[in-house]
């Protein structure tokens, strides 16, 4: 079976790749493009570890076909830091020790960034509901929520 040729944009860079028709975007990112920041926790859209944005929408890349990326704008965790300078969310996750094993962290950072772009001043409850699809088996979530709130305050200039 011939592979599908896809033209897309990933973290602002024009990118092309070949994929199988039934290959999820997550596999394309990790196995073909070597962008291994996005993780496969479940592969069925339950855990959020593979979160990316597609045309500005937060999605699970395990539930998107690579072929669907044609003409789309994808952002991944690899596009979050500016060179050596961490995004405020990344810095606050380190300061608050909001990660342990780290598998869920890229997805949570991508999801939290998508939230703060929509709402720079979310309540704790809003953050918890927004991140309900990002499972973490280590931290118990409190440090993650604190880090997001602190990053939001800093980004607002508070």
């Amino acid at each position: 079976m011939s592979k599908i040729h896809v033209n897309t944009s990933i973290n602002g860079d024009t990118t092309e790749f070949l994929c199988e028709a039934d290959e999820p975007l997550l596999n394309v990112l990790r196995d073909h493009l070597h962008l291994t920041g996005s993780k496969e926790g479940c592969g069925t859209g339950d855990c959020g570890a593979c979160s990316v944005t597609m045309n500005g929408r937060l999605v699970c890349s395990c539930l998107v076909l690579g072929a669907e990326a044609e003409g789309a704008e994808i952002t991944t965790i690899e596009g979050m830091a500016d060179g050596e300078t961490l995004h405020p969310l990344q810095r606050k996750f380190l300061e608050h020790a909001a990660l342990q094993c780290g598998i869920c962290t890229p997805g949570i950072l991508v999801a939290a960034k998508a939230l703060l772009e929509r709402d720079p001043d979310p309540s704790e409850t809003e953050i918890r509901y927004w991140l309900a699809g990002n499972l973490c088996r280590c931290t118990g979530y409190d440090k993650i929520i604190s880090a997001v709130m602190d990053a939001a305050a800093e980004m607002r200039g508070g």
Partner: protein, 291 residues
């Protein structure tokens, strides 16, 4: 497996009709890709309908809204017009899955996946929504409740797919609401659910009602006795008791790990009652309700 992204509904219908083996429609993919991953289905052809005009748009039509089959929960929730006209339908779809799932999941997909516990389906049935089906012979319209015929089964013929859903116009002093029971606050499948749509007169007396229940039968139930209990009343306690009794009596659920028959029957009545009260409050708080 082959992947195709046709540009027209006619082309999509032809591909689905001519496919050798198993063909599936892809809109949001939040059920399809999970079923492929688990090996439940192994499609020979997946037809992505998102490149077709109208699949990703919401347009005003006949005083209501036509919602393309690939409009996501997030997009529907951001549409002020639909949210104002049919808040119960919007809140029902918004209960499906996480933020990530909301970025992709659709009303049409929730309907065609044909889960008895689908959240948006009782709300759409209560709203008397209609479905535009495209097939090899052209387009036809049918009521939402005609699509699911059992768990995972639909009435769609080979080559047919749902292209859009129409939420109708609504008179003044009317609204809807949807509630479900889950044992937590987020990210779960309905144990039991109820959608209620009401039309009141200027004095608050119920003119017409539609009550639909989810997850208490193989398909969504439209409970006419429950609706009849509200008509001609101002939703006093006696009317709400009669509504709840009728809803509980109509429910024919199964026992499973998420709930028992007795629990689901009881909760069907409770949710129908609470949803009716919310719909009444929304209808009564409309601008001009007291004039």
């Amino acid at each position: 497996m082959q992947y195709a992204a046709p540009k027209s509904t006619a082309e999509a219908a032809r591909m689905l009709a001519d496919a050798k083996g198993v063909a599936r429609v892809l809109a949001g993919g939040t059920d399809l890709l999970v079923q492929m991953k688990s090996g439940l289905i192994e499609p020979d052809l997946v037809v992505d309908i998102k490149a077709i005009d109208g699949m990703r748009t919401i347009t005003q039509e006949a005083g209501g809204y036509r919602i393309g089959a690939a409009v996501s929960g997030a997009e529907l929730g951001e549409h002020a017009g639909v949210r104002a006209l049919w808040p119960g339908v919007v809140e029902a779809l918004e209960l499906v899955g996480s933020t990530q799932i909301q970025g992709r999941c659709t009303l049409a997909g929730n309907l065609c996946n044909a889960s008895p516990a689908a959240d948006s389906v009782p709300a759409m049935v209560a709203a008397e929504a209609t479905v535009r089906v495209i097939g090899p012979d052209g387009a036809r319209d049918c009521p939402v409740q005609a699509i699911p015929t059992g768990p995972g089964k639909t009435s769609l013929a080979r080559g047919e797919f749902v292209a859009s859903i129409h939420l109708p116009a609504r008179p003044a002093h009317a609204s809807d609401a949807y509630l479900r029971f889950i044992p937590r606050t987020e990210m779960d499948i309905a144990v039991c659910s109820a959608g209620v749509s009401l039309v009141l007169d200027r004095n608050g007396t119920c003119q017409t009602a539609r009550v639909a229940l989810g997850a208490v039968a193989a398909t969504v139930l439209l409970v006419k006795d429950a609706a009849a209990a509200l008509v001609g009343t101002k939703l006093d306690n006696a009317a709400l008791d009669a509504l709840a009794s009728a809803a509980s009596a109509a429910a024919t659920p199964i026992d499973d790990k998420r709930g028992t028959v007795a629990f689901r029957k009881e909760v069907a009545g409770v949710l129908a009652r609470r949803a009716a009260v919310i719909a009444q409050q929304r209808a009564g708080s409309e601008k001009g309700a007291d004039t």
